[in-house]
């Protein structure tokens, strides 16, 4: 049963990943990534990390992907140009990817980690559930927890500054905005 679930989730995750890479339209790429994230949540559940599976579904598939869909709808899809600055890029990149996969697999599987061929030790029912992760976060890892919350705040402020349109009145940090350029004219490169 566990093997069946693992292979179904693995196929889902891999199919979603290939869909992200292969889809022409960015909107379909985002949808494929949502499939991928749900399959990964199933894999997290199989690894007895219930809290992370829930966080994956709520934070990623729920919040982050909605953000992506908003931006795709705002910016619009649009096909990519076929211009290639490096000749044969589309041919060599998959070869490089296969080489990377083989190399990573060799590096991990031939390591001295004997426990790789086991299912891991027996753990109690509380392994990875919200209570134990919360205790770890608030006791042992309190400083990283607070630092990551400050990082989130900084990212939110940074995104507002980056995507702000009307900077002609001067930005709050006092830098002079490029206001001499008329609207719609790309900057000189």
């Amino acid at each position: 049963m566990e093997a069946v679930l693992f292979f179904m989730a693995a196929i889902g995750a891999l199919g979603g990943a290939i869909g992200v890479v292969a889809m022409r339209n960015p909107f379909y790429s985002v949808l494929a990534l949502i499939v991928h994230l749900f399959a990964l949540a199933v894999l997290f559940l199989l690894l007895t990390s219930a809290f992370l599976a829930a966080a994956q579904v709520v934070v990623y598939a729920g919040a982050v992907m909605v953000l992506y869909i908003f931006v795709v709808a705002y910016v619009g899809g649009g096909g990519e140009s076929a211009w290639e600055p490096i000749p044969g890029q589309r041919f060599f990149a998959p070869l490089l990817g296969i080489a990377l996969f083989v190399e990573l697999s060799i590096a991990v599987l031939s390591s001295a980690l004997l426990a790789l061929d086991t299912k891991g030790p027996e753990v109690g029912a509380g392994f990875g559930d919200p209570a134990s992760i919360g205790l770890l976060l608030l006791e042992k890892f309190l400083v990283p927890f607070e630092v990551s919350s400050i990082l989130l705040l900084l990212a939110a402020v940074g995104a507002i500054v980056l995507a702000n349109r009307d900077r002609t009145g001067g930005t709050p940090s006092g830098h002079s905005a490029p206001e001499a350029r008329p609207e719609g004219v790309p900057p000189v490169r």
Binding site: I18, L52, V72, P94, V108, T118, P186
Partner: protein, 99 residues
């Protein structure tokens, strides 16, 4: 399932994301492929945390999720800024910063 299966799957997903970053041109899809790579790293972290029976790897994976969310927010802000300045949505043409 043995932990090795999860690790192999994680490296396969990571390689897929890397290929996507190499062959796609749209900055949005490149961000999506970055998500793929970060999630592959998360899967490896959680598999190893299960392998040693220690939950601290899961806290690490949670921090990786936070960093990924920050990266998404800043990246999408950049994409919106690129769109508003009517620059091309192509990483091969946005190359002023290339050395």
């Amino acid at each position: 399932m043995n932990i090795a299966w999860y690790i192999v799957l994680s490296s396969l997903l990571f390689a897929t994301g890397a290929v996507g970053i190499l062959i796609r041109r749209s900055p949005m899809v490149i961000l999506l492929c970055l998500e793929l790579m970060l999630n592959a790293g998360n899967l490896a972290l959680i598999a190893f945390s299960r392998m040693v029976g220690n939950q601290e790897g899961q806290v690490f994976a949670l921090v990786v999720m936070v960093v990924a969310a920050c990266e998404v927010v800043v990246g999408l802000g950049l994409i919106v800024a690129i769109f508003r300045r009517k620059l091309p949505m192509n990483v091969d043409e946005l190359r002023e910063l290339r050395g």
